[in-house]
């Protein structure tokens, strides 16, 4: 395994029930510091499960390391410092009523003073194009705005690894473009589960294809994916 790896999977298998058919089977790959990879696959191929396993939310066999820390239940606190996670449904992870408060939570729990935490959260929201909603109830925002508020909460602490589950889902074309530009500017390593190859190709140079729980392709060529899906232009 690469020393520079911020995320490493070594023969990882995930089953939801003991003895059942695995959702992920023998998955191995590494993601280096600052590297951006798209995790692509059809519905049910195991993308979300892989992301969940990477943060210890899906029990697994095999070895997963995040920045050298083995993913175990007792290392959850350490893993949290190293990862930013975006769920595919933003409402699931917005835990506070006001957008600014939710975005600032990660900073506040690390002991950043409240005024400073809110200032940095507002700055992140502005960078994501939703600065004007900072003081608004998160529940009343559009899907795209909620997605960005949730993303701000994941990005604001500057974790070395970002795990993003369908970040472009529900965004309009300008929103997708600006999000792709923003993600392309970040220094963090990221693994982006998506169906949206055009979006991923804007900032990822590596494509990991999952098919029926196994990696069927891992390389730089996005056209391999569209050929496999029969969606070539």
């Amino acid at each position: 395994m690469s020393v520079a790896a911020v995320l490493a999977f070594d023969r990882v298998t995930v089953r939801y029930e003991p003895g059942s058919r695995p959702v992920l089977e023998g998955v191995s790959f590494t993601l280096d510091r600052g590297e951006r990879a798209a995790l692509v696959g059809l519905n049910g191929s195991g993308k979300t499960t892989l992301l969940m396993a990477a943060v210890g939310l899906a029990g697994h066999e095999g070895l997963i390391l995040v920045d050298g820390i083995p993913v175990r239940r007792r290392t959850a606190g350490q893993l949290r410092q190293k990862t930013g996670f975006l769920f595919n449904v933003p409402e699931d992870q917005i835990l506070f009523p006001i957008a600014r408060e939710d975005a600032a939570f990660g900073l506040l729990r690390r002991g950043v003073e409240r005024t400073e935490a809110y200032r940095r959260a507002e700055s992140m929201l502005a960078e994501l194009g939703v600065g004007e909603v900072a003081g608004q109830p998160a529940l009343h925002l559009s899907h795209g705005q909620k997605q960005r508020v949730a993303l701000a909460g994941a990005l604001v602490t500057g974790p070395p690894l970002l795990l993003l589950d369908e970040p472009s889902a529900g965004l309009d074309p300008p929103g997708r473009l600006s999000l792709a530009r923003l993600l392309g500017r970040l220094d963090a390593a990221m693994l982006v589960a998506t169906h949206d190859l055009d979006f991923a190709a804007r900032f990822c140079r590596r494509f990991i294809v999952l098919a029926e729980g196994r990696i069927s392709y891992d390389g730089p060529d996005a056209s391999v994916v569209s050929q496999a899906w029969g969606t070539e232009a």
């Binding site: 939310l57 990862t83 699931d92 992870q93 835990l95 009523p97 506040l108 409240r114 109830p137």
Partner: protein
Amino acid sequence: MRALWHDSWGSGRGPAVRLAPEARIAAGAALFAASLAAPAGTGRGIALIAFVATAWTAACGMPLRAVKSFALLGAAMFLPYFLLVPLLTGAGTPGPSGQGGFLSALAAPWDVVLHGFAGLFLTAATVTSLSASDFRRGVLALPLPRLVTGVVIQIVHQTAVLFAETGSVAAAIAVRSGSGRAGTVLRVLASVPRVWLPRIIHRADRVSAAMELRGYAETDLRVMGPTKPRAADAAAIGAAVGLLALAAAIRWDWIR
């Protein structure tokens, strides 16, 4: 009903809104307890209940539209208790003219109706004085165990999310079934075990995963908003506790 509670949060514009959120919650809770403690069977008790409910509703500046809506809601919830009076009259002990039996039968529904209306208005007035953010800050500032504050805050926040989810389910059913309002309500109710419940369970699962990932349970949420106590807040809480003590005294006197 859903819109009434949803729209009420933070809609108040009265002087109580200037109090610290925790003072509004504590005063509202003390006045609620006072309204329950005061007996509905004595003039002094009735006067205290009416005063407490009216004064707090005015202090919170509950919008007139909400006052009317909650009055209607209260009427629908509590006035049907008076339908029990004929049944209770038969069971009671009538006086020489039969009036005593009627009055004593009236006492139980009257108790429920008066306390119910007062409790409803005190709760609603407190809700109108608090935005969702105020509520969270207020709960965090109260001397409650960390687990309790975390759970209460998430209950309120996730209830709002569930209301939105229910709205989506209802809209989907209305569109797909093409039924009218009443038909949609019936279909939504019928869908609860098969559609709504699985969705909510799935959502609860994801929310708990997010809470674990974001370190919600391990964090002392007081970092989100400590506030400094002020004289006005102490005065408001003191007045509310004083009214609670007065209600308790009236109740004690009435029992004796």
